[in-house]
Symmetry: C2
């Protein structure tokens, strides 16, 4: 017997609206809204109707409720809880294989398991609110960019880079993915390794060079001891 498939309908328009409002309100006022406030925002005139929807959202696991307590609503998945930043880890980046491209569909629907939380205070101001994604570095192919095996690099998706940016590029001619510093020169691109003892790679402008994103942050967990 096939497992019953969850009705793909999922959440109605009202449910969505309520969830969004709770999230927005929480971020704005640092505490959950009351039932009446939710009703007002969502054009629901009766508190009982809000309660009605809240019950459903609770059963479907989207929110948790502290009955008997004022404003006892809270999102189960605090996706953007104040000063945190959730970035999806889309996969691994390793030489010789294409890196997963972030399709727009990927954002918005990722679970906690494959995402990392970054404190706002650690983010460059310009990148807040942007659609960032993260990749875990596999292998030592990126070592010349001061990035080690196992590191997590956080990237901003972009096609063009400025001189000096650290970028993730896909060299289809060489069938290689790599992290390098990017410089545009007269009729070619220079991909400069971080390690000064290593020579830069020159790419003719006609050769294919796909910039996947620029590196915004590098996180390294050192737990190599046991």
């Amino acid at each position: 017997m096939m497992m019953m498939v969850r009705k793909s309908k999922g959440l109605g328009e009202r449910h969505q609206k309520i969830l969004e409002f709770i999230e927005e309100y929480q971020r704005k006022f640092k505490h959950p809204p009351s039932i009446r406030e939710i009703g007002e925002d969502c054009s629901i005139s009766s508190t009982s109707v809000v309660n009605y929807y809240l019950d459903q959202l609770e059963k479907s696991g989207h929110i948790e409720r502290d009955r008997k307590i004022s404003r006892g609503v809270r999102l189960t998945a605090p996706s953007s809880l104040g000063d945190m930043f959730r970035v999806p880890v889309l996969g691994v980046i390793q030489a010789g294989e294409p890196i997963p491209v972030p399709s727009n569909a990927d954002f918005g629907s990722f679970t906690a398991e494959d995402s990392v939380e970054i404190a706002m205070s650690l983010m460059p101001a310009k990148e807040k609110g942007k659609e960032l994604f993260a990749l875990q570095v596999q292998g030592e192919s990126m070592i010349d960019a001061m990035v080690n095996d196992g590191d997590i690099v956080i990237l901003k998706p972009t096609q063009d880079a400025r001189n000096g940016d650290m970028v993730a590029v896909w060299l289809s001619d060489r069938n290689e993915t790599t992290l390098k510093f990017f410089f545009k020169e007269k009729d070619k691109f220079r991909l400069q390794p971080a390690n000064p003892t290593m020579k830069p790679i020159y790419i003719d402008k006609r050769e294919s060079l796909e910039i996947k994103g620029k590196v915004v942050m590098v996180i390294r967990k050192v737990e190599r001891y046991n």
Copy 2:
């Protein structure tokens, strides 16, 4: 004229107790306590007295209050808000200068400005709840340990390291601070740079070698573009 020094007395016993209770309650129930609950925990029979203290804590900037709203108390500095980890940045680490040692007094009293927040999910499980500290790397002297200028390294204070650990050591003979991989050999220590093209440093066991801590995590903010 000297600036007026803040009364060192600071918080009374009651104030401390209340702050601790709010923090504990928040972590436990995911929402702030009511005035009456605070009073009950702190053996204050009157709600007005709790309100009295809350007013003081608000004026002194320890908490924020949403008047008119139930349970509208919240700590201004969410020091351990669920899945976050606050690590004090004690200073900078650079070659030629001693790194600041974390004295026990330093923990517990550090402000938000000189500390970084790390998501629990990013921490190696073993280090949770430990007394960690962070240093900002200045200069490129640590570049051989895959650590760049401006990086933030998070360290666990310890005097002894195991083979393969990345440690911060103070070599008083050379008057130098450095980040290296640590290996104990027959009658000497080997400090191995991360960059394989660079030769290791050998330190005789009689020479002074002070391990300040082992690196648990490295964070690099890349914002070198403008």
